[in-house]
Symmetry: C2
Subunit: 244 residues, 2 copies
Amino acid sequence: MTVNEIKKYRKKDACSYCLGSFPTFELLRARPETAEMVLLHSDAKAELRKGLELACKGADIGIICSDRLVERLRDKDKCIVIGVFKKYECTLEHHANHVVLVNPGDMGNLGTIIRSCMGFGITNLAIIEPAADIFDPRTVRASMGALFGIKFEYFSDFGQYAKRYGGERENYAFMLEGKYRLGAFQHPEGKPYSLIFGNEARGLDASYMSVGKSVVIPHTNSIDSLNLSLAAGIGIYEFCREPF
Amino acid sequence: MTVNEIKKYRKKDACSYCLGSFPTFELLRARPETAEMVLLHSDAKAELRKGLELACKGADIGIICSDRLVERLRDKDKCIVIGVFKKYECTLEHHANHVVLVNPGDMGNLGTIIRSCMGFGITNLAIIEPAADIFDPRTVRASMGALFGIKFEYFSDFGQYAKRYGGERENYAFMLEGKYRLGAFQHPEGKPYSLIFGNEARGLDASYMSVGKSVVIPHTNSIDSLNLSLAAGIGIYEFCREPF
C-alpha cells in the first residue's frame, strides 16, 4: 500500500486502520507481519514517537509523519497515531474454547466482546454472517487492539461452523428461554466448549435450544434483557473463572 | 411545559426527553407524575398509539402528534415516540445496597450501568461529581428507561456520600490493585453494601484502598483493563446472585 492509497475505510478495502496508540502497539506486538505503516501526527510527544520507532524497527515498518493523513482518517476522538494493516484470515483451533457470535450487528459490541474474550482467556471467535465487519476501524478501536490477539473465522451459517468444529465440543446457547441458569451448573472438564450469543435485537432463535445446553443469565423482570456485550461479558467471565 | 418550549436538550433545562417507545412506556409506568406529554410521529402504527393512549389516560398526560417536534428532537435512530418529563430528585435508601459511580464520564456507560443495576436488583445509585448528566436523553436511552426505576443521588465528593450513608455498610472499591479477588470471597449477610467503580480512564485513585475492601476482577494480562460498564456489570452480577 502506498501513501496515496490511504483514504477513509470501506469494507471492500484490502487494508484497514487502527486508530490510537494503544491499539497500534497491540498491532505491532501481535500481528507485525500485517502492519503496512504507522501514521503519526505532529501532536505526538517525543517519547511516544520513540516507542513507536522501537516497535517498528525490528519489523521494518515505516513511520509516516503526516498531519493531513491522520486528520483525514481519524474520527472525533482526535487520535495522533494510526496503524495501517493488511486484512488477514485465520482459522480456529479445534481443541480450544470458542465464543460464537450469531449475526452481531454493532461494531462497538463486537469490539467490546473481543476485548472481554481476551480478558478472560478465550482467543477463538466464530462469527455467523450476516455480521458486523471485524476490520472496521470502529470494531478495532472498541476492541482496544485485542482483535490482533485472537483468531476469528466467519461462517455463512451455524451449521457450517458446527460441521467444521463440532464433534467433541459442548455448546452453550445463551437465550432468555434457556433451561440452565448461569452459575448454577458446571461445565464438565476435559471437553472444549462454545459459548453462543445471538443478535442485539433478536437474540438466538428457538432452533438454538437444540444445539446443546441453553443457558439463561438470571436477572429481574424489571428489564427485558441485558445488552449483548454485557451478557457475553458475564457469560465469558462465569465460564472462565481461572487464577489469571 | 408548553409545546413551544420544546427544543434540543441542554443540561440546564428543567425538562428532558426519553427517545423511543420502550423507555417512554417505562417512564409512564415508573414515574408518571414526572411525565409532561408524549410526542408521537405519524409513522407510529395504530397499536402503538393505542397502547400509549391507554398508558397516558390514567395519568392525564397529553399525546401530541407532531412529526416536526419528533424530528427536531430525535437523533439518527429515528424514534417515533418521545416522552417529555420534568427532571426530579431522589434520595437513596439507607439500608439498601448501593452502586457508587465516581466521576463517570460517558453517558452511554452511565445508562448501561443503570440497566445492569435494575437487571440484578440494585435500585440505589450514588454518583460522585463531576459526572455525566443522568437526565441527558443519551443516558436515558442507554438505560432503556431503567433510569425511571431507580433512586439516584449526586454528591460533590465521596466523603459527602460516606458521611450520609456510611456507618453500618460495607464498601467494596473495584480497582486493578484490589486485594480481594471477585468471586473468591463472600459478603457477610445482614449488612448492606456499596459497590464503588471509578472513572473510565482513571479508575479509582489509591485513596479508595482504605474506604473498605478493595476488589479486583481477575483477568489475563492480555488486556490492560475491562471497560467500565462491563466491569460494573460483572461486579453487580457477582454480588447479586439471587433466584430472580
